[in-house]
């Protein structure tokens, strides 16, 4: 039983890593209608920026803050000068463009900082607390809470604010939104900027755990995508819930179904996706896209 709880808690903490990235993906999708494969790469860049500011002598919290702001700018510029070209074209091309962006960003990080591992300090101590007989580090606890907070903010942003409505309108149909006077270009930049800033927070949160390398989020990307699709593309709550579900289930299945084991546990989220999406195409928490004939 103790092991079971510990495995569950471990799963939640791994799931939080996926969730951080998943939230940024949801944000970009809500704001621009794209799936951004480069989201993880951009978060890595942000983490390295924070690292650079730290090296330059800023205190950790300030370094993170500056990195978040800088990332907002980078995200906005990337949208304006790169992604804009692909926004109205074939969606496959846009996806490949984000793949190109991922490659480019990873490459830039590698050129500037190299492939050597770098330690990134955490805001939160590694000391652990006991919850229901399971041991949790304050760090994972804080990560999890931060993610919950971000999720709440996003949900409010999209559902309750004028900016959120405008972002969704533009993602839905930019040409039509412009006819109501929505500054489409600027809103798209804001959307990417916000997602990049969120990515920076994610990078700062998971950086200490994963140690900085140019490819540190490559593995998490697939999980984050899975979480986004499973939870519902338009739902921050869904993304987080799905990321946790994946983290926990993976652990439990690997341990309690030895036939699957740790090598094939990665199949679990995908089987889950398949089963759930057949029943609920819009994902666990997503709203169904209405298409009428």
């Amino acid at each position: 039983m103790e092991t079971f709880i510990q495995l569950t808690v471990d799963g939640l903490s791994t799931g939080s890593v996926y969730a951080a990235l998943a939230l940024a993906i949801v944000l970009v999708n809500q704001a621009t209608g794209l799936i951004n494969f480069a989201q993880g790469g951009m978060a890595v860049l942000s983490a390295y920026l924070a690292y650079a500011f730290l090296e330059a002598g800023l205190p950790l919290i300030l370094a993170l803050l500056v990195a978040v702001l800088a990332s907002f700018g980078i995200g906005a510029l990337v949208e304006r000068f790169l992604i804009r070209r692909f926004e109205r074209g074939d969606p496959d091309t846009a996806v490949v463009a984000t793949i190109g962006l991922l490659t480019l960003v990873t490459g830039i990080v590698a050129v500037v900082w190299g492939y050597n591992n770098r330690q990134f300090p955490s805001l939160f101590p590694l000391t652990s607390v006991d919850i229901l007989g399971a041991v949790v580090s304050l760090r994972s606890l804080a990560t999890t809470l931060t993610i919950l907070a971000i999720m709440g903010v996003l949900q409010l942003l999209f559902m309750k604010t004028k900016l959120g409505l405008a972002l969704r309108a533009v993602a839905d149909n930019p040409a039509s939104s412009a006819l109501s006077g929505l500054p489409v270009g600027r809103l798209l930049m804001v959307g990417w900027g916000l997602a990049a800033a969120l990515g920076a927070i994610a990078g700062g949160l998971v950086g200490p755990q994963l140690t900085l390398t140019p490819g540190m989020l490559d593995g998490a990307l697939v999980y984050a995508l899975a979480a986004v699709i499973l939870g519902g593309l338009d739902s921050p709550v869904g993304a987080v819930a799905a990321a946790w579900a994946i983290g926990v289930l993976e652990n439990l299945v690997a341990v309690y179904i030895p036939l699957i084991g740790h090598d094939l546990k990665i199949a679990v989220p995908f089987v889950l996706i398949f089963v759930i999406l057949v029943l609920r195409p819009q994902g666990l928490f997503g709203r169904k896209v209405v298409v009428r004939v």
């Binding site: 074209g89 074939d90 490949v96 490459g107 094939l264």
Partner: protein
């Protein structure tokens, strides 16, 4: 593709061109250095994989992030068959058929889903495929991989190995390309296109979106299997690395760069897949990631419809609408007003009616 054929209106010229191309393709390896042949061999391998991907994605619009899995599967089947000493034609057929059957089974499930959900199910193939390949080490040689050599030139041919490999790949790839071209031109090409565009319309034309997706996906898998066979002819070794997820993404990029929904584009995509790493290696092996990113983005930026659209973009036709008879009952024209030349650079973004 369209650009090529439209500039070759006359039938005679087209036949002559085809003949010339065929002769060049047949004779070239005899005169080229080994490295050139070997490079073309690899282009052929990936062109076939990209072609399959293009059918399911470029034509039928189903995002498939798992194509590399079928390449790997084909390669493993080939390696196994060769080790068992099967006739090489049987090996080729087995590689295609087994990949096709697995693809069919996956498609029967995946085609129930739409859009991105299919993408997730297909992403799972290479991701689960790698540990699976390690587990099934009696067949696959585990993580150390498996070598199988069948593409050594036989003595009677008097050819070098690279030339012999070239001809193997030329024959298989040419057959694959010709079949695909015929398929996407008529009835099924239209069916793929409408399923991509609007499933409701497809259905009302008697085209089952589900079965069309299954068909496209299965064809793609067969091409993946064939590509795996060719992979083994070219590399003579395969391991779980062959089907790693990253390569699937690269295949996707190659398809879009070459030209989604274009047969010739698939060939260009295969060339892109092979040449770009080679090229970036030549620039500076330490910066391959950056330079690959730059190249990919630069090409997309200039040619969002892929390299295959280059001639079209270069020609950039300006034309007026063809004349049409004025409908009966319209009033007589009064004097026309002067018309200044259009010069506004604002982007032409028209309101698209999204299909119902």
């Amino acid at each position: 593709m369209a650009t090529l054929s439209s500039s070759l209106r006359s039938r005679g010229a087209r036949i002559a061109l085809i003949a010339v191309v065929a002769i060049v393709l047949l004779a070239a390896p005899l005169f080229m250095p080994a490295i050139a042949n070997l490079t073309l061999v690899r282009v052929g391998v990936y062109a076939v994989a990209v072609l399959g991907l293009n059918i399911v994605m470029g034509y039928a619009g189903q995002v498939n992030l798992g194509q590399i899995f079928f390449v790997g599967l084909g390669a493993y089947v080939t390696a196994y068959g060769v080790k068992q000493g099967w006739n090489i034609l049987i090996v080729l057929i087995a590689a295609c058929v087994i990949a096709g059957i697995v693809g069919l089974l996956v498609a029967l499930a995946a085609a129930r889903l739409g859009g991105l959900a299919i993408a997730m199910v297909t992403i799972a193939l290479p991701i689960v495929g790698v540990p699976l390949a390690k587990r099934l080490d009696t067949f696959t040689g585990g993580s150390q991989g498996i070598s199988a050599i069948f593409s050594t030139a036989p003595d009677w041919s008097g050819l070098f190995n690279d030339q012999w490999q070239y001809y193997i790949i030329l024959v298989v790839a040419a057959a694959g390309f010709l079949l695909a071209r015929a398929l996407v031109r008529g009835k099924y090409g239209r069916a793929f296109a409408v399923v991509k565009d609007n499933e409701a319309v497809a259905a009302s034309m008697g085209i089952s979106p589900y079965w069309t997706k299954v068909l496209a996906f299965t064809i793609a898998s067969v091409y993946g299997g064939a590509s795996g066979f060719l992979y083994l002819a070219a590399v003579q070794y395969t391991s779980p690395e062959t089907l790693s997820f990253g390569h699937s993404i690269s295949l996707l990029a190659a398809m879009v760069i070459g030209g989604a929904g274009s047969i010739v584009g698939s060939l260009i995509g295969g060339a892109y897949y092979v040449f770009v790493p080679q090229f970036t290696n030549a620039i500076d092996p330490n910066f391959t990631t950056v330079s690959q990113g730059v190249i990919l983005l630069a090409v997309l930026f200039l040619l969002p419809e892929g390299l295959v659209s280059l001639p079209r973009v270069l020609r950039r036709p300006t034309r007026r609408k063809p004349a049409r008879a004025a409908p009966a009952g319209t009033p007589p024209s009064s004097a026309a007003s002067p018309d200044p030349a259009p010069q506004n650079p604002a982007p032409a973004s028209t309101e698209r009616h999204d299909p119902s």
